[in-house]
């Protein structure tokens, strides 16, 4: 029996990596259970080699992460890598390694738009890299939609932006800042908080004294939970929106309880919690819960990781060979229905996102209400409408 080895070089101990691995594993088990992938005339099984390269942890040099990737490539002889790097700089550096060894990789975590730029700058060289999750440009799109709604429905037009001081979050922050200004909002301030910040009072005070109605926060560090608590305790009368990773999962209600009632939270890729209007997501989350006995907590990375395995499998079957050049071609031509929506790559090897999972991949916005995550955006699949929380005037 021959195997196609897939590598997962990522920070396995961070939630996105951890759940990404589980999701990919689920996909592989499903495929293998059906007999594997057909390569030409032969059926091959998938095998997973996960390696903790710790690149999402502060203090770990990129070189160590890259050496880990080289280990997967040279030692474990992986055919392709999925999930992939956390930090944008690690991703960008890893692309050189992947193209050196001609290894296909489909990342689902790092979100920098520089990725496409780099691919387009030398398409031939970097063609082995794909991204199966959204990038910060798309991400800001989803945030914008909800802002538009808030503006239209409730007349909100003053915002405070807080982001984590990392590439992708800053990128979203700046895009949003521009958008707000272009659309007649007042931006009270735009603060970037260093990773590990534990005190947000300065910014919140600014926000409060400026009388903002909306706080847009983009964070994926765990300490950002403090922001939520501080926002509550300082009684800042503004609606918390954006992407705060401690709030994306079902367990957030347990941690923060009543505090997060009414918070608008963006979802980078749908599919990790069941959405009635889009059946693949229901199926996927059920399968995941069945396999791993708990539901997914991170709104980013896990669901696409599941899809990437299928993308690869389909591409290999379509190419009928393991020759990477041909498989790359096949991936470029992918068109299938995944849990995050319809999967198609653009010229820069970026998964295309939009507002309707039947047309493109899709992110969304949900609102925390009474312990439930209610999808309010995009309208095509929304189950509810954004509501003003009771305590807002």
């Amino acid at each position: 029996q021959q195997y196609i080895t897939l590598g997962i070089p990522t920070s396995l101990k961070l939630i996105e990596g951890h759940e990404g691995q589980k999701a990919a594993q689920l996909a592989i088990e499903e495929i293998n259970a059906k007999g594997g992938v057909k390569v030409g005339n032969e059926k091959m099984l998938f095998k997973l080699e996960a390696l903790d390269i710790r690149d999402g942890e502060p203090g770990v040099p990129v070189s160590e992460a890259l050496l880990g990737i080289e280990k997967l490539i040279l030692d474990k002889k992986i055919y392709a890598a999925v999930v992939g790097n956390f930090r944008s700089e690690a991703l960008l550096a890893a692309m050189d390694i992947y193209s050196k060894y001609k290894v296909i990789n489909i990342g689902t975590i790092a979100m920098t738009p520089k990725f496409q730029e780099k691919i387009l700058s030398d398409k031939e060289k970097y063609k082995y890299s794909f991204r199966g999750a959204l990038d910060s440009k798309y991400a800001s799109g989803y945030v914008q939609s909800s802002m538009k709604f808030l503006n239209k429905e409730f007349g909100y037009n003053k915002v405070y932006i807080a982001t984590q001081d990392v590439l992708w979050a800053n990128a979203i922050g700046s895009l949003m800042e521009k958008w707000f200004k272009d659309n007649g909002w007042t931006v009270a301030a735009f603060d970037k908080y260093p990773v590990g910040a534990t005190d947000f009072s300065a910014g919140l005070m600014k926000a409060k004294s400026a009388g903002v109605q909306v706080i847009m926060a983009i964070f994926d560090m765990p300490t950002s939970g403090i922001l939520v608590k501080q926002w509550k305790s300082m009684k800042v009368p503004a609606l918390l929106t954006g992407f705060i990773s401690p709030l994306t999962g079902s367990k957030a209600w347990k941690t923060f309880g009543q505090d997060i009632e009414g918070v608008l939270e963006s979802v980078w890729e749908i599919g990790y919690f069941p959405i009635k209007a889009y059946p693949p997501s229901v199926k996927f989350s059920a399968a995941y819960v069945k396999r791993w006995k708990e539901d997914i907590q991170s709104g980013h990375g896990a669901a696409p990781a599941y899809d990437t395995v299928y993308i690869l499998a389909n591409a290999i079957e379509k190419a009928g060979t393991l020759d990477s050049e041909k498989v790359v071609k096949a991936i470029e031509e992918t068109d299938m229905a995944g849990v995050v929506g319809r999967i198609k790559f653009d010229n820069g090897h970026q998964l295309i996102f939009g507002d309707d999972p039947k047309q493109t991949a899709c992110g969304g916005v949900f609102q925390w209400r009474k312990g439930k995550m209610l999808l309010v955006w995009p309208e095509s699949i929304a189950s509810d409408k954004i509501q003003k929380p009771a305590w807002m005037k």
């Binding site: 990129v62 070189s63 160590e64 700089e89 690690a90 960008l92 050189d96 990392v166 800053n170």
Partner: protein
Amino acid sequence: MKNRENYRKERIDRCIKARSDDIYALSSYKEMWYLIFPRVVPIIGIAILAYFLPLYWKKVVITTCIFAMLAVSWDFLSSCGLLSLGQALFFGIGSYTAGCLNHYFHFPIYLTIPIATICGGFISTILLLPVIRLRGIYFAMVTLILPLMLARGIEATHVFGGNEGITGLSPFPNVWVELTFIIAGMWAALFALRRFISSDYGLIFVSIRDNDRATMASGINIYAFKAQALFIGSSICAFCGAFMTHLYMFTGIPVFTMEFSILPIAASAIGGIGTLAGPLLGAFILVPLSEILREFGSLRVVFYGLVLVVCVVALPEGIFHYLSRKYNEMERWVRLE
């Protein structure tokens, strides 16, 4: 220690050392071999290993050599009384220098690395010049802070590629060049420094750590010498940084991470501080070990920490001290008369 009644364990030098460390009285091939053996074996050993291992492990050898050099440089600095927690600073400066030269001015590798070595040493020395009067932990604190600050500064000001760094730099032609280059560099650094530190000139550096007041009272400008030591130590690190940059075709703020500062210290601690060769040995234990431990997946770092603790506690003097003692001295029980 076993305490036999009226017996005492005696320790004797294997007596080819005449009186002091660098005066040898060689009288036979056997003695010559005795001297050469511990020096030649690791050189040949590493060379063989490096050239015959599978590709991935070659890469590991390269990384090991880099960390070994960092450790050697750390030990050199510490034997001059400069306790550094900031090898990452020197490393990062070298890396950025090479990266920028290559990216913005398109200098080829054989220019960027030498220039980065010299300039890196130079810039690091200048940066630390204002605090050269600090001692011990206070100096260490500054060296710990500076790389953090530079990294944050680059992040905040977006210079040199800002957060995502500079990628796509020129690589080495092939892995053989990489290997030869770094192994040669490592041995050169080690033996040159060992020679240097036992020379009359090098002795001054050691004396500064021993007692800087007395060194001053001996008419030595200790600050000038400390600056020289800094330059030498940081140049070596800068070389490593430049090398790593081209190896991974990447430079960016992660080159300032603490790992580059901590691992050399750990290597020195388990290898044996103050010997220069010890830290090298330590690096050759720790780095491959950490690669082997990758098999343990998530528990890797735990095991790694465990090994550190066990090594340090079991042989507080350091492996190299221990080995060289066993090699150079005989022990035997003698009866009290």
